[in-house]
């Protein structure tokens, strides 16, 4: 079946550096994508979303890039802080299908002091 996957299960970065978390999706009909952050013992927290008619969207310290040609999604975090340490999930919504999101397996981001 269709799936969303992440290239790297773990990522360690130095505090202050930029982080890039990647995600590959397989359904070209997906029209909406979301990045969530999940800290230990908590539910996923919305970070940023992007629709398929866009290729870039910026938030506060975060940028999401969408490359529909290669079905690739990335989350860039600028000036990574210790509080950014968490598991990051990308999720996609299949256009015209059921309403639920399909999540990838997550990337553990660790920020080193």
């Amino acid at each position: 079946g269709e799936s969303v996957g992440l290239h790297l299960p773990t990522l360690s970065v130095q505090e202050g550096d930029n982080s890039i978390i990647n995600c590959a999706y397989s359904n070209s009909a997906s029209d909406y994508f979301i990045w969530y952050k999940q800290e230990s013992g908590k539910g996923p927290q919305f970070i940023i979303d992007i629709r398929s008619n866009m290729d870039k969207r910026q938030g506060q310290r975060v940028t999401v890039l969408l490359n529909k040609t290669v079905k690739h999604l990335s989350l860039q975090i600028a000036a990574t802080q210790p509080g950014d340490s968490a598991v990051y999930f990308c999720a996609e919504r299949f256009s015209g299908s059921a309403r639920q999101l399909t999540f990838g397996s997550g990337t553990q981001l660790t920020v080193l002091p």
Partner: protein
């Protein structure tokens, strides 16, 4: 409340017992979702409610799982005759409209079946 709330936060039960998990969505949100998250894994969709429409139950893993949503607000997920493989975090989310628009998650219920 300001966000999605779930109760209990933790539940330990014995194999074969029934459990009920509760979700209070954000006030005014018409869509409600249940997901299951096993240790170190992503989120697995279980069921989706939208307004008064029939729920999408396509993600329920077996007939031991059921959910209801009363009055278009609070939802209860029931697992009958629990098995050890049911141990997971059960997450609830709500959104203001259908179609998978931004879903806001609760803290989850951590279920352990002994």
């Amino acid at each position: 409340g300001a966000g999605v709330s779930q109760s209990p936060s933790n539940k330990v039960t014995e194999k074969g017992k029934d459990v009920e998990l509760r979700c209070d969505p954000i006030s005014g949100h018409t869509a409600l979702y249940w997901y299951r998250q096993s240790l170190g894994q992503g989120l697995e969709f279980l069921i989706y409610f939208q307004g008064n429409s029939a729920p999408d139950k396509s993600g329920l893993p077996s007939d031991r799982f059921s959910a209801e949503r009363t009055g278009g607000s609070v939802s209860t997920l029931t697992i009958q005759r629990t098995q050890q493989e049911d141990s997971a975090v059960y997450l609830c989310a709500s959104s203001s409209q259908s179609g998978g628009e931004t879903q806001y998650f609760g803290p989850g219920t951590r279920l352990l079946v002994l």
